[in-house]
């Protein structure tokens, strides 16, 4: 038995974007773009992020509901895509899931006893009277009772339905339960009941949880370690207490702006995201994916031609600008309606374009065109900032700092 119940390596999931009458593939939404994450036996790993960050997609890949585009999910050391027959059944038994939508996660036409008993029937664990007894036991374990056996889901409240879902998930005594925002749709007091229940069950049955949520308070309460996701990547990973005491990524801090009381150890109020270009999930930035909205972005964070365009659109709204020739994300020729506009744009960039400007080599003006070239940047890598606390941010990641990314290039 390895110490890791489930792990993902370089996990990628891209969804094709189909356009036109013939439904041609025009691009891919990069929902997961290289995620390395391992869930250790007995822990609760929290996964936080906003909508679109890929956390739900990750949950589905880990639970075997979606096939990855690249990379793999490993159960007990083996790639689940290669598992067949008994081995695959073993994986299925041990990886269960509780969903966010309490209404849609139970078949409205099935009785509770059938819903909860189904996993046991499928895996031939019990039948007949013994099955019924097991089901009653499970229901009692989640705070329901025998009287609920012969009822339909619609006769229960949201909190009760989630309990039924949980009973179903633990019926086979799995090693791991993936919880995809299990309490987001519930009232605070009901959420408390469910969270207490989940904690009790974890203690009693030795469960491992992958707990996905957007609520930082919940993750702080429940998780031993927390991973913060943004635009398909993990941007920070560490022990919960450490991450909250001192977040090492501006995105984590931005998340804390909604719950500043959780970040009391921070010296000051957490900094929110700034106005900026929202990156396209089909074409994420080459460098750091947060740089367009980051309050502490540096010139080395991966500024691109599209950022220059966005900046010009906002600084000089009346002057339309277009890309005449795009050589790479970092090098392109911009076209302006007339020479005056082009000159004005260059002047404005010179004067005001922080922190963009230092990344920009002197823009070359020729008539109505401006040749724009920016410093090429490597993708921001996830690094250990000390004691197992990983981050992608250049301000905390030692190797990137050493590479001289900040300021003048280093010799070494």
């Amino acid at each position: 038995m390895s110490s890791e119940v489930l792990a993902s390596r370089a996990l990628k999931k891209h969804f094709p974007i189909k356009e036109g009458v013939l439904q041609r593939v025009a691009g891919h939404v990069r929902a997961l773009d290289g995620v390395d994450l391992a869930v250790r036996r007995g822990e609760t790993l929290g996964l936080v992020g906003e909508s679109g960050c890929g956390k739900s997609t990750f949950a589905r890949c880990v639970a075997g509901l979606m096939e990855p585009t690249a990379g793999g999910v490993y159960y007990d050391g083996r790639n689940i895509a290669t598992l067949k027959g008994a081995a695959f059944r073993e994986y299925r038994r041990n990886t269960q899931m509780v969903f966010q939508d309490v209404f849609a996660s139970l078949n409205p036409r099935q009785l509770v006893k059938d819903i909860v008993g189904r996993p046991l029937k499928i895996h031939d664990e019990a039948s007949g009277a013994e099955l019924l007894d097991r089901v009653v036991e499970l229901l009692q374990g989640v705070g329901l009772g025998r009287e609920h056996l012969y009822r339909y889901p619609h006769q229960f409240s949201g909190g009760q339905r989630q309990r039924i879902s949980i009973a179903r998930a633990i019926a086979l005594q799995p090693e791991m339960v993936v919880l995809d925002e299990p309490t987001s749709a519930l009232d605070v007091s009901v959420q408390a009941q469910i969270l207490n229940l989940l904690q009790d069950l974890q203690e009693r049955q030795g469960l491992t949880y992958l707990f996905i949520t957007h609520d930082l308070g919940v993750v702080r309460h429940m998780a031993d370690r927390v991973a913060v996701m943004h635009l398909g990547e993990v941007v920070e990973l560490g022990a919960t207490d450490e991450v909250f005491a001192g977040p090492k990524h501006p995105y984590t801090e931005a998340l804390l702006t909604a719950r500043p009381e959780l970040a009391e150890e921070l010296g000051s109020e957490p900094a929110p995201l700034t106005e900026g270009r929202t990156p396209d999930p089909a074409q994420p930035p080459e460098g750091c994916r947060l740089h367009t909205r980051c309050p502490v972005a540096t010139p080395a964070c991966g500024w691109e031609v599209d950022d220059v365009l966005w900046w010009l659109e906002h600084a000089l709204p009346e002057a339309p600008v277009g890309v005449v020739a795009r050589h790479s994300p970092f090098h392109a020729e911009l076209g302006f309606p007339d020479e005056g506009a082009a000159a004005a744009a260059v002047a404005a960039l010179e004067r005001e374009g922080q922190p963009l400007r230092p990344a920009l080599e002197r823009p070359r003006l020729s008539g109505v065109r401006v040749d724009v070239r920016l410093r090429e940047t490597d993708p921001a890598a996830l690094e250990d900032a000390g004691g197992g606390h990983l981050t992608r941010c250049i301000h905390h990641a030692p190797a990137q700092r050493r590479r001289g990314a900040l300021g003048a290039p280093d010799a070494g």
């Binding site: 899931m97 969903f99 139970l106 078949n107 895996h123």
Partner: protein
């Protein structure tokens, strides 16, 4: 000591019948629906008791008995309460035995159409991709053709026996179900309970049977009810045009036979037969609408 709990299968059955009763009560709450149900029940009764109501004609019960003494007899003539046709066929006999024909026709056509349609639609929804595209475009083509014309064309090719008419109509009606079930399945598949069943480790077929199909089937039921009425209408139209054996105890045939007489004042043949067709179609329409009203809010209510 607690009493032994009831056997679970019995208890499940009890709960399900209770739910079915509630559903029925809901359906009957609407007076129009209730009216439709009553008329349908009356027709079904009539069809079932046909031999009791009038002696079956020999050798073929579905051929109108001819009374050569009473040709074009108006209603009220002794022995022919609803009158006779220009060949002495008893209208009352035709109406009663015609209901049997209508019932057979609608059950068989709708039955075949549902089975074929649901199979094709399910296939399209599950396999997806090119298969889905091809199947659905075929369905679109079929749907573009008016039902009557289509049935006519097929019947003209196949021939006019009763079996052929059934096949022709089934070929026309199945496409609706394919589209309905495909749309429903795609919608239902998005629900998390389908994912949950996969995570538990259930097989695709079992998931289809227990999760997808039961939750997709309601619009099919509604449409089937409505189609029971429409099938008879179209069948009657085909007979009216002449695509059926003459002398058949069938409503459409009667309308056709009585048509010439209408101008000369012999209204009863076409009128009574036409009334039967109208009532049949109306009744199933009301019932189907009522079912739709009952099912829709229920499927909305979680």
């Amino acid at each position: 000591m607690l009493p032994a709990p009831r056997p679970s299968r019995l208890e499940s059955a009890r709960v399900r019948t209770r739910r079915a009763r509630e559903l029925t009560r809901e359906t009957l709450r609407n007076p129009l629906t209730l009216g439709g149900l009553i008329i349908v029940a009356a027709f079904l009764l009539m069809a079932a008791c046909a031999p009791l109501l009038t002696a079956a004609n020999m050798p073929d019960a579905y051929q109108m008995p001819r009374d050569w003494q009473a040709i074009d007899a108006p209603p009220g003539t002794p022995g022919h309460p609803l009158g006779t046709t220009s060949t002495g066929g008893d209208v009352r006999y035709g109406i009663i035995w015609g209901s049997r024909m209508s019932l057979q026709l609608s059950l068989l056509v709708v039955g075949i159409a549902v089975v074929v349609g649901v199979t094709v639609g399910s296939l399209a929804a599950f396999v997806g991709g090119k298969v889905d595209e091809i199947l659905m475009r075929t369905v679109d083509v079929f749907l573009a053709i008016p039902e009557l014309i289509f049935a006519l064309a097929i019947a003209a090719v196949l021939g006019t026996s009763f079996t052929n008419i059934i096949l022709a109509l089934a070929a026309v009606f199945w496409v609706k179900y394919a589209r309905i079930i495909r749309g429903q399945i795609i919608h239902v598949k998005q629900n998390e309970y389908v994912d949950a069943a996969r995570v538990i480790g259930d097989s695709k077929l079992s998931i289809y049977r227990r999760d997808v199909l039961p939750n997709s089937v309601t619009p099919v039921v509604v449409q089937a009810t409505l189609d029971m009425g429409t099938v008879v209408l179209i069948g009657a139209s085909l007979s009216f045009i002449g695509l059926a054996e003459s002398g058949l105890a069938e409503w459409g045939v009667l309308v056709s036979e009585g048509q010439a007489g209408v101008i000369s004042g012999k209204w009863w043949v076409s009128t009574f037969a036409g009334l039967a067709i109208f009532l049949w179609a109306l009744a199933f329409n009301l019932l189907g609408d009522g079912l739709r009203d009952v099912f829709d809010p229920r499927s909305e209510r979680r």
